[in-house]
């Protein structure tokens, strides 16, 4: 009925009286602006590297620290969106660009976040030596590298799977490139993009310690923020402070979720391509609040009209022209030239790299690193198996009980977003206390944060399991092992694979911070590739950092190609009925 009321008032200027919701929304907006302004001012403040402000461990500073950490996350997110729209568009619209950009993205994705940090921090600090800005930029860039790649991938893939009929409609109605981008491409990509943004955010939180308390070689910087607070607490062996940090982090993530992601997800529901109404439309109280305000809503509508007008403009830069699929037969000669150039560039860079590394690295280093890589690979594999054995049955049990699943699912998603490394100090404390072997007992830390992806994907799979199949299994009295093998496991398999891919990627990334963990002066080293890279970063040994990163990239890309993608394809093929 709401629609009709709106239709009647459309076009007529009707003064809407302000209501209590306006007041609430106004408070939110003004507070938001003030906070952002204060955070931004602190970022531009002087920041002499020699005499950095002391990181305080009093709980009273945590709100401000949380604000500054949040600002960094936001800035990185904005950068990630800009990157996504340009990189993803370029790769989707030009076949030649795709040839280079997509494999590159694959590798970029597999490089551990610390890898970027160690190479770029010097550059950023040099940009603005006496202000916080330079270091801030370095930290933001580090967070950016934990967010941008999968977002760009998601956008690229959406652009490549735009439904045929919508593509034809846009061409038939002669949308310009600009119109097409905002009318078709961005909306179609939106649900996947938002989902990936949430995943990116979790990745960003995870590396918040590493990206705020930067320690590369001789350079030691600690930017005020939750990450630095934790680093300082670890140094000072202050368990209470760690507890405060965990609390602050929990609150921050909760607020972020409520104020940013819930509304985004609820709003993006309209971009779903499926033409059916969703069973449970995602809701957000904050979005409802803003939608029901009256004055603010009127203001919002004029902003909306302006953005609409912008999207309708026919602006037509060349980059936005439609994708190459089926346009024209590409010229062979240009292809050859392009391939040739790419090859020359790769060979040249390879030679430079070999020269640079060859002078300082020996074959012994390579053997060491590969050995370390093997250890980490073994750890990841064993941990994924253990996590699967534990969580798949539990996830299924939960998923089959809708009432329970409804309560557990948000918790699992929250746990996935929570940076598990804040809990590491506790683990170290326990390991030292009971004198356990770090080689074995540090390992579980790798999967502490990422196992939740397996959990909530399996829960989702079990919840979506067709009711008729479940009933059929009951009717034919399929029990025990046969029930698992023939009914349930195949049913959740595709979901499980999705979760396990994310979990294993996360575990690799986490290895750098979890294979070497310290607690005050105590340093536990579990060995492995992550520990290797962490050690070399602390020592500022760039050739060996590069070697470690290269091997890790190869291992990650290799497992994705050889294990996960075939598994995923198999899952898709086998569980389809048409």
């Amino acid at each position: 009925m709401e629609h009709h009321a709106e239709v009647l008032s459309r076009g007529l200027w009707r003064q809407r009286p302000a209501n209590w919701r306006d007041l609430a929304a106004l408070v939110l907006i003004v507070a938001g602006i003030l906070l952002i302004g204060s955070g931004a001012r602190q970022m531009l403040a002087p920041f002499p590297a020699a005499q950095q402000p002391e990181i305080s461990l009093s709980p009273g500073v945590l709100p401000n620290y949380a604000l500054r950490t949040t600002m960094r996350m936001l800035a990185a997110l904005v950068a990630s969106f800009i990157f996504t729209f340009t990189y993803g568009t370029l790769a989707a619209k030009s076949r030649r660009a795709e040839m280079v950009l997509i494999p590159l993205l694959d590798v970029l994705q597999s490089v551990p976040v610390l890898g970027y940090l160690s190479f770029t921090v010097v550059f950023f600090v040099a940009l603005s030596p006496n202000r916080a800005l330079g270091v801030e930029l370095a930290a933001i860039f580090a967070i950016f590298t934990s967010q941008a790649w999968n977002m760009a991938f998601s956008f690229f893939q959406s652009l490549r799977t735009i439904p045929y009929d919508l593509d034809e409609a846009s061409r038939g109605f002669r949308f310009s490139g600009w119109q097409r981008f905002w009318r078709l491409e961005v909306p179609f990509a939106m649900p996947g993009l938002i989902w990936n943004t949430m995943m990116s955010m979790s990745g960003g939180w995870f590396f918040v310690v590493a990206s705020e308390a930067i320690a590369v070689g001789d350079l030691h910087v600690a930017l005020p923020g939750i990450g630095s607070y934790v680093a300082r607490a670890i140094e000072a062996r202050d368990l209470a402070a760690v507890g405060w940090a965990i609390l602050a982090m929990t609150v921050t993530i909760f607020i972020y979720d409520q104020l940013l992601f819930r509304p985004l997800v609820a709003w993006a529901d309209k971009f779903r391509y499926e033409q059916t109404a969703s069973a449970v439309a995602p809701r957000s109280w904050i979005l409802d609040l803003f939608r029901r305000t009256s004055l603010l809503r009127t203001a919002g509508e004029s902003i909306g009209a302006m953005t609409q007008a912008a999207a309708r403009a026919r602006l037509s830069p060349r980059i936005f022209s439609r994708p190459h699929a089926g346009r024209k037969i590409p010229s062979r000669l240009l292809d050859v030239v392009w391939y040739g150039l790419a090859l020359v560039a790769v060979v040249y860079l390879g030679v430079v790299l070999l020269r640079f590394a060859g002078a300082q690295l020996s074959w012994g280093d390579v053997v060491d690193v590969i050995g370390d890589g093997g250890i980490t690979l073994l750890r990841v594999a064993v941990l994924i198996v253990i996590a699967s054995v534990i969580w798949v049955p539990i996830g299924i049990a939960v998923g089959l009980r809708p009432a329970v699943a409804e309560k557990v699912q948000p918790v699992a998603q929250f746990l996935a977003a929570f940076p598990a490394n804040l809990l590491f100090p506790l683990a170290v404390y326990l390991i030292v206390r009971f004198d356990l072997s770090p080689v074995i007992w540090l390992s579980p830390l790798m999967i502490l944060g990422t196992q939740w992806y397996i959990v909530f994907n399996v829960i989702a799979g079990a919840s979506a399991f067709p009711n008729d199949l479940e009933e059929a299994a009951k009717t034919f009295r399929i029990h025990g092992w046969r029930w698992w093998r023939d009914v349930m496991l195949p049913g959740v398999f595709p979901y499980y694979v999705t979760g396990a891919i994310t979990a294993s990627g996360g575990a690799w990334n986490a290895s750098i911070v979890s294979e070497v963990v310290s607690w005050g002066p105590t340093k536990l080293d579990g060995g492995g590739l992550g520990a290797y890279i962490a050690r070399m970063t602390a020592a500022g040994d760039f050739p060996r950092i590069a070697l470690g990163i290269a091997v890790m990239s190869i291992l990650v890309v290799g497992t994705n190609r050889l294990v996960w993608r075939p598994l995923y394809a198999y899952a898709e093929r086998r569980t389809r009925l048409d």
Binding site: L166, A169, R171, R174
Partner: protein
Amino acid sequence: MADDNSAIIDLRKVCMAFPKRSGEPLLVLDDIDVSIRAGEFLGLLGRSGSGKSTLLRIAGGLIRPTSGNVLYRGAPLIEPAEGIAIVFQTFALFPWLTVLENVEAGLDALGLPREEARQRAEAAIDLIGLDGFQSAYPRELSGGMRQRVGFARATATRPDLLLMDEPFSALDVLTAETLRADFLDLWVEHQLPTKSVLMVTHNIEEAVLMCDRLIVLSSNPARIAAEIPVTLPRPRNRLDDEFGNIVDNVYAVLTARTIASLGALKQAREGVAQPLPRASVNRMSGLIEILAAPPHDGRAELETLASSLSLEVNDLFPLAEALHILEFAEIKDGALRLTAAGNVFARSNTDERKRLFKEHLLQFVPLAAHICRVLREREARQAPRMRFEVELEDHFTHQDAESTLRAVTAWGRYAELFAYDDEARTFALIENPA
């Protein structure tokens, strides 16, 4: 409403070819001449896969023909032009835009002032009977309402030429009937701001009901098989004798073409490269049983069958064609007649049916015999599917090769002639069928 009798769009000697696996071109449209005059409602009829949708996209400037010319208002058409609008089979609405925004989106390219765009969109929505739904999202609407949005979006641009690609085929029977009637009313009363219409359809009755002139396309490759003017006064009545005559006539043209091309294929390439229709054995058996039973007693007009079984031409033709190929029935003069074997099949039990089907499959479908021969020649009695795919793609498009292979796989499995493992994608001979 026609200001003159000149052609709005002129397709001259249009040919369309797609590359085969080998890189050689495969002709889909062969030498098509069509021109649409102002004030005309032209219907383009043909079997599914005959290339009629491709032709419509060529007329819309979405696809360039391999050779030949498209003249729109006397000038060559090389990309979608102002004055041509398309209504899609699948509606092609933007799910994230409301009804009003969807209609306005169609006007984006015209660069109209905001107010004028809004007025035009509202007018089109009003005309097409969508008033009150402006702020609804497509997913809240039924199929019929969605297609109304499609119509409103296209007509709001005030096109000279409205292209409609099977606009009613995704709707259920009742909804389609209502939409057709509403559209016809507007068209007859000259209320639609469009000068001419080209509609692609496989529904013969729909075409005769709506169009001023029909162009019937043959398949593989598509050529113009017949051009039939429909001069019946409107509103037209499906029960009229004259209406029935035209429908019969179209059926006869379509079936005559089918038979001719089937015969020619058998002779020319010894049949291995004969495209097989996708017809399940269950449906074939069902059709044989219905044909054998009263009131048909072995023979029925295709038109009668289609309406009594409420099957679309698209569903019925592949079945009839499959029976024809397997020589369980014969298509002649728009009617389907059971052969002696067909009558035996109707009376047999499951095992006997399988045996009979196997005999006919081996005898009349050279591809099935060919697969068996290849399997027998091989040591392991197995052959990868790819081997036959490649062979078939020498003769037709990837899609046709795929559907032909699927058909022969299903038939061969039923006849217990060979087995097929989809995981390994291999065929295997069944040596001693039980």
